[in-house]
Symmetry: C6
Subunit: 263 residues, 6 copies
């Protein structure tokens, strides 16, 4: 498996493109202005890292409810930077790791980044990387401390680093004094208006025009629009469930009311 080990070498330096693309499996649908604002703010941080010599390290926290699109947006900003080193630190890559192995894995990626003049590291789902669970509560303090230090440690001479991290649990990070370690943050909201729902559904080609109108009418008449709050990820799942059903409109509308009405 010469080719495979070659890929691993390539993957461990430079850009882990495949992984990052998986994070945006269903693309970025520009369903409202928030999406554009987040992407352009992300671009600004990329520029600061590239240009300012006084701040060679910039760290940003993307936070918001479960399934609101944080990972996909962070991956998109990272790939758009076109920096020579773009890496993902994710819980999926560390399944079954001991605390020590996690620390080594994370540390290695940062040390690799320090060798490139310009780097982005995406740290996805911090609470999962920390083995966080509210009962106890419990988490890996040694992994937490590793991140706390690495997020503030300036890269060596002339090297520059942008850190993009995601979480659904900003208030837990606050209790850990972790939010202080970030230079700034970006809020990624849920979808809360029927216009955005409509844009997403159109893009997915779930309905014909007639069915689309019918479902929007039902939702609007049911007053769902007033307390709608659903992540784009869940909206995608609901659409695909509905697609299997004989009565797609009914399945879509009823499931959205069940699961997306708890603003």
């Amino acid at each position: 498996d010469f080719m495979k080990s070659l890929d691993e070498v390539r993957a461990s330096f430079g850009v882990s493109e495949a992984e990052l693309k998986t994070c945006v499996a269903n693309g970025i649908i520009r369903f409202n202005a928030n999406v554009d604002r987040i992407l352009s703010d992300g671009q600004l941080f990329v520029d600061q890292v590239r240009n300012s010599s006084r701040t060679p390290l910039v760290s940003v926290l993307l936070h918001g409810p479960s399934g609101s699109g944080k990972t996909a947006l962070a991956a998109t900003i990272a790939m758009a930077s076109e920096f020579p080193f773009i890496k993902l630190i994710s819980p999926e890559a560390m399944v079954g790791y001991s605390e020590a192995s996690k620390m080594t894995h994370i540390n290695k990626i940062f040390n690799d980044a320090y060798k490139s003049p310009l780097s982005v590291i995406v740290v996805d789902c911090i609470e999962r990387i920390l083995d966080w669970v509210p009962i106890g509560p419990r988490f890996s303090n040694s992994v937490l401390q590793t991140l706390l230090v690495l997020f503030k440690k300036p890269p060596p001479n002339d090297r520059k680093l942008l850190i993009l991290a995601t979480t659904t649990n900003k208030n837990v990070l606050e209790q850990m004094d972790f939010v202080d370690a970030f230079n700034t943050d970006l809020y990624v909201p849920n979808i809360v208006d029927l216009n955005s729902v409509s844009k997403v559904i159109e893009e997915l080609q779930l309905f014909n025009q007639n069915d689309l109108n019918r479902s929007l009418t039902i939702l609007r008449d049911g007053g769902i629009g007033d307390n709608l709050s659903v992540g784009v990820k869940k909206l995608l799942m609901i659409s695909e469930m509905a697609r299997q059903d004989v009565d797609k409109v009914d399945k879509f509308v009823s499931t959205l009311i069940d699961q997306g009405g708890s603003r």
Copy 2:
């Protein structure tokens, strides 16, 4: 034991049929409409995994009181899928395992699943897999974190996976932020009406028609029907205990009142 080791190889890939059949040792008695609804909803998720390219991973939580039939139903849905890879992750198979061994065992089954184009994994009795005990409370956080990540990790390119998990402790899973990791859930209720009891008893051939009527009359007259709540598994046990007694009707009725009247 060449044959035995061959079986083990076979069992570790593909379908673990023997184990799954054991879960349905006393068959599925269609004693009311709930049973049919759960089975057909299960079929819908099987279809979504088979058909939708946008949602290659679907995870479902079957929850309900102790002995309500969760494991038998999950096993039945899984076997009905006829997917090339159908596997059971159960506490029975991990008796005496260390946390690390559990993580390895679970991880291996998921990795095997990722090699098949279409897979179902039944994860039975999550709270027991997590070594959950309310005193403390205590549980294995490393096994929990492994499951939390694996339940959200998309299978690689073109592979598809359905996860069916069971629990009697949904509210504990909620406290662990575990319920968020599921795309949807199915409730498996206890038997709460005498009609269903009657159907089950007939199927088990515990009584002749006369005795059946007599016991239903006693139960109805005693008002048991109003606060009956008994799992199909316990109803089976009570029937078999009664079968040993000289006065079967009396034993059956008195035990059911003792143990099944605490709705």
Copy 3:
């Protein structure tokens, strides 16, 4: 020590008779109707396991106050079954074991049982096997989880198993969700009437008729009968202490009032 290792082999399969007989060192005195009821209920469970194909596993919890005779009764029911495999899992046999060794020891006995068509396992004093202590509280969760799974795991094809467990701490087991793992339970009460005391004393030949009458009169006149509550095991100890004294009647009566009057 060929003979000794042979004995160990014999002991680890089949029936551990010596150990079980030690549990009934002072015989079973049939001092009141409870004793008979418990023994005949036990016989019924033995029959169910032997006869029903639908319930190859039946588990029973004998619970009651300290010294009420739980272990002796469980051992008696087990020996009366005359099943080919009858085994005792007791804290005495695991003194000084690590958690892992306990798990292995317990697991081995269950696996041995699965090789016999008909088996009884007596699990004595569950709270001690679990290293339970109320301060903390603390206990071995890994041993608990092992028991929780083994008590619900059906034996393989055509094998049948009866589990008889004892505890003085049913409410602790309830807090551990352990009571749910049993199919049924049997209460073993203390001695609470002077008739039973009299029957036991007669059997032990502690007094001549005159002394017996005298002590019962003193106890009755002192009103002890109204709040008497003493385990048969403690009653035996009090009798033997009294036997050493010059004034046996006085020693017996005063000690019984001191130690057996706290119903």
Copy 4:
């Protein structure tokens, strides 16, 4: 060191006389009736173990305030039995032991006892053997569980065992369900009257008759007699401190008032 290792062999079987004598370094002063009562009760338990075939195991807890003489009395009862096996289990012999080593050490002494037809084991200062500390609280549960089982485990066929244990913390043992493991207990009180103080001082030859009278008068006049409570061990220490001083009477009286007046 052949002789030394021989001594160790001898010491590990049979009687550990030297150690037990150290426990009674200053003899037993019969300063009041309690002392005699405790010694004769002790004799009764020795007899029961020797004579009764129904109770081959008897366990006794000596409890009372710090320095009241528990260890000296337990050692004296044990030596007076003249059983062929008399052993001391004490925290001093296990300084620096790991939990596992403690368990092995304790277990070995019990197993050695089981080889002798008649044995006494003195278990001194249980709370210290358990590494008890009220902050937390903390203690070694594995050592506790070892003792809990060994204190109830009947010796094998025809062997008999008396266990004499001491503690200053009976209420802690109660919280551990440990007191239930004893068949009976003996209370060893502090000295609370000036008569006993006088008897002890005379025995120690601290004062001439004149000084003795003078100090008793001062104490009596100061009303100390009404709330005196001092262990015989502390009284010995105070006497020896006073012995160094130029004004022995003053030093003795003032120290006794300082340290022994907190009944």
Copy 5:
């Protein structure tokens, strides 16, 4: 890599200049009188260590809010001492270390210092070195105890040592009885007046005179001056962010109001 290992040798003895310079990457801007006072107090402690034979060990705690300049000031005082041994103990150098490795690393630096007649050790960000997290709370007690002892242990004969430590969490150190281990402390405040802001901005050449005046006017008119509180480190970050924007004045002013107005 002979040269590299030579550097490491040099670095591990004597002065770790590179690391200390990194701590003052953006220089020391003398924006108000506090800055001068802290530096001259620091000089006084340097003198005391150099001159007094009675106090060969002096330890100072620099504390203040996040980003107020503690590390830069401690490093500056240390470098100004021109002692032959000047070392930094920082969390960055111990990323991923086990507790034992941390203890060894810290201990080694102190032992090296004891070999030099005059030494300064900067211990940066104590709470991070201790793996402190408020949830639990948790920290490494073994590292804490190592520091507690080393901070009070006098250097050997004729050796002298100045310890400069920094923290943002003085009240946590107080709860640990750590503050008692220091001989004295120095408070490093945030910037709370617009004059200091103006001096910093001028130094950074962010604006032309016109823009500077405009932003100060906006801030003053908005009343920000009354509850301003911003660390010099954050002020630097805000300036560099603003520098990327098309409307620098607006970006600077709005970000400062967002993030620096929470006095």
Copy 6:
């Protein structure tokens, strides 16, 4: 390093003079009557150990506020005994030790002491030896238990031992039932009167007579005398800080008011 290893041998037996002298680096200033009383009480315990055959073990706790001179006084009493074995157990000598190593180190020193006819062991700063921290609270229970047993274990035949221990946290030791393990205690107070301050300053030759008078006047006029409470160790530190300043009187007076006025 033959000489060095020889020194180590010498140091590990007999008297560890160098270490003990370091504890009294600035001598004992007899600034008031307390100092004399503590030293003469110490002498009395030395005599008791030498003379009484009934109390071969005497243990004394020196307690008082931080810096009041406990260690220096304990070391002075120990050295004055001129016993053949005088040893210091201190946290400084165990920096970075594991719990097990600490236990071994402590145990060894006691065992060495048992080989000498007359021994003193100084156990300095018990709370630090125990790794005590109030957050949690946490401490090493195994080291605590080792000390608890060794502090009560009588030395073997004809050997005698004096234990002098110091602490600033007597109330913590009380919560650990540790104070019971001592035969007696000595309180070492802070300096609370200006006379003692004056005596110390004179001894240190900080001021000329004029400056001394001036500073005492300022302090007296400021009413500091009424709530002064400062350890001799801190007073030494304040004096040496003042010595560096141009205006010694002002620095001394202001620092003493700042740091010594919190009685």
